[in-house]
């Protein structure tokens, strides 16, 4: 049982880095995406039709889905090491919301937080090349703010859980960043 929370602003490539890391980790590991779980639950209840719609739900619905998703992740983490790809500061129509409210954080029970970051200008450039996503905020300044909020959220959650915060830069190629993330996960797993 070992759970690594990986987070990054939309467009930084955190999901790609997670995928690269997962391909380097062996049996006994599982990659989960918090948004996948929330989307499954929300779609089965007829609340949303797409991932981007999750950001338009009421704060109450969001919190409910976060708790259900966290319960699911907590269950999956029993008996295997989990790499959880999620947002610690979520850009919604209401503003930025915490990705892991207290009850969800308790269920997820992370062993470490990993921030995937790149220069805000790099992230803005990457967003330009992806036509399939809707971004709630845009421009280097808001990306910079979002990365700061992720850092603040990670440290806040670290204070609650005692889990350390690490940084993985994804300025260059995602394979290298994935290798670094896999190394952090493996070393963390062994040191428990």
């Amino acid at each position: 049982m070992d759970l690594t929370v990986v987070t990054g602003v939309p467009g930084v490539g955190a999901s790609r880095v997670c995928r690269e890391a997962r391909s380097r980790l062996g049996e006994g590991y599982e990659l989960l995406n918090f948004g996948d779980v929330m989307l499954e639950r929300a779609a089965s209840r007829g609340l949303v039709g797409s991932r981007d719609d999750l950001a338009t739900l009421s704060r109450r619905e969001t919190r409910l889905l976060q708790r259900r998703a966290a319960e699911y992740v907590g269950d999956r983490a029993r008996g295997r090491a989990v790499l959880l790809d999620t947002h610690l500061a979520v850009a919604t129509v209401h503003g930025y919301l915490p990705g892991l409210p207290a009850a969800a954080l308790a269920d997820v029970d992370p062993d470490r937080f990993v921030l995937v970051e790149a220069d805000p200008a790099t992230v803005a450039e990457r967003r330009e090349t992806v036509g399939t996503r809707e971004y709630r905020e845009s421009g280097p300044r808001s990306i910079d703010l979002h990365q700061d909020l992720n850092r603040a959220a990670a440290m806040g959650y670290a204070l609650e859980t005692g889990a350390p915060v690490r940084l993985v830069e994804n300025e260059g190629d995602p394979e290298t960043a994935g290798e670094r993330l896999a190394g952090l996960v493996e070393r963390g797993d062994r040191s428990r």
Partner: protein, 96 residues
């Protein structure tokens, strides 16, 4: 034949697929895996992807979106119903 829940497909796709991936290649690779529905009825990933009409997926997010959209009716629960209740605490728990 393995049966998994939708969120478990993220790990499956990360292990088995190289993106971008054609729908045909995805079906060849993971099409036999069955998706478990809340009602207990399982459906093959290949069957769901055959319905979606997309030729290529650029990322796991795209293929996951296709599964969520085109999974059978058995997967969709009662609209607006939550089997775990709706008591999520006070509305002022969230801070900006």
């Amino acid at each position: 034949m393995p049966t998994i829940r939708l969120p478990e497909t993220r790990d499956l796709f990360s292990r088995e697929l190289e993106f971008p991936v054609t729908c045909e290649a995805a079906v060849d690779s993971v099409g036999e895996v069955e998706l478990e529905s809340p009602s207990g009825t399982a459906e093959r990933i290949g069957t769901v992807l055959d319905r979606c009409g997309t030729e290529e997926f650029d990322s796991p997010d795209e293929i996951y979106a296709a599964l969520v959209t085109f999974v059978g009716e058995a997967y969709v629960g009662r609209k607006g119903y939550d089997d775990r209740g709706s008591n999520v605490g006070r509305d002022d728990e969230v801070s900006f």
